[in-house]
Amino acid sequence: MKLVRERKGQFIIIAALLISIMILSISTIIYGTVTYFRQERWEEYVTIVDSVKTGSTNLLEISLARYSQTSNSTILRDYLNQWIRDVRKAYPGFGVDLGYTLASGVQSAYGLSLNYNLGLARTWNQTVSFSAANATFTIDIASVGLTGYSFSAHAFLKMNIRDAVWYSRASKQYVLIYVSVEKEALDPVINLQKSNFADVKLNGVSQSFSFRRYYSTTYGSFVYELRVNSVTSLPSSVEATLLDTRSIKTVSRSTTIRQDTS
């Protein structure tokens, strides 16, 4: 009878039960929190975002290359619309939705004024010439609840005729054209070959030329030296056409040609 009526001892059992419930509850919450990110297949989503991001940036370069060669000003928009459909097809079941906004109007960048139309801009036949593309993308992945991941992509190629000199020596008469080439972030392009210079013209007439590249202390940059031999008179204009390794084209032209008789 005494055993049944003892109430003090029950406290330990009740306390143990409460502690057990606490352990179970807290552990469940902590476990769920800690393992949530581990059990999700994040690599797959990261792969999709990275792949689409890199592909979109490449597409911008492809479009700019196409635009600079064909002057088709809607090419970037057309390619992007196709790209959005193809990305959905490539990742079925993920709910990948790619959106884009093309740059428009005048924008200052790279020390230049770029007048974008449908994400594309170019200024050719100047001493400093360029081709540029600019777009902002957003990626949504419905299956994982990712929305509004945004990034910008740029493609840019600039060629600058640093100097053009006609050497009118008695023994040899030739023209040297010094050009520098830069891409996005104004990084100098230093891996071009002679074949990348599709055309060199004097007075609007194509010429055969030789090619050298080196770092010039005179201009404080990496330069390409284009030499046209047997030039008997001072040309009124020099022109160089460049197709870089991405096939992006730009054409520079200068009417300022120095004469060197020394």
Binding site: A16, I23, L24, Y31, R38, E43, S51, D86, K89, Y91
Partner: protein, 150 residues
Amino acid sequence: MKRRGIVKNPKGQMRVIEAIMAALIVVSAIVFLYAFAATPSGQTYEAGELEKIGHNILHDIDEQRLLSRFVYNGEWANLTAALIVSVPNDVYFNLTVYDVNGNSIGHPLIQYGSSQTFVSSKAVASVTYILSGYQSIYNPRVLVLKLVRV
């Protein structure tokens, strides 16, 4: 007398029994948690790690502007070599290139390791990577890289 008193004191015995029961309850709770904790299997972790490796390799090669060149110029031997030098020694791979409609474009076998390994292994990771084109030509390709650790 004292000894008899201890043995016969039912209050003291009950304390011991209660303490044992309490301990049992707490231990049961912990055992229950351990038994029902659905930890991801080793295979899940392994596939995740391999996916990470595969994605990093493809992304690195693409960042160097080599992936598009290899795929669009059909430089399959170069692509295979680039993948072999990039994957860890104990990882085998198989790469298939498709168009966006899921049709294989018909390239030579791009593989390192025996085909049997991919059939028999329980943890085969698969990475899908899309390329938009090359130079001035838009022509998307979907690369599916399968990886397995031996």
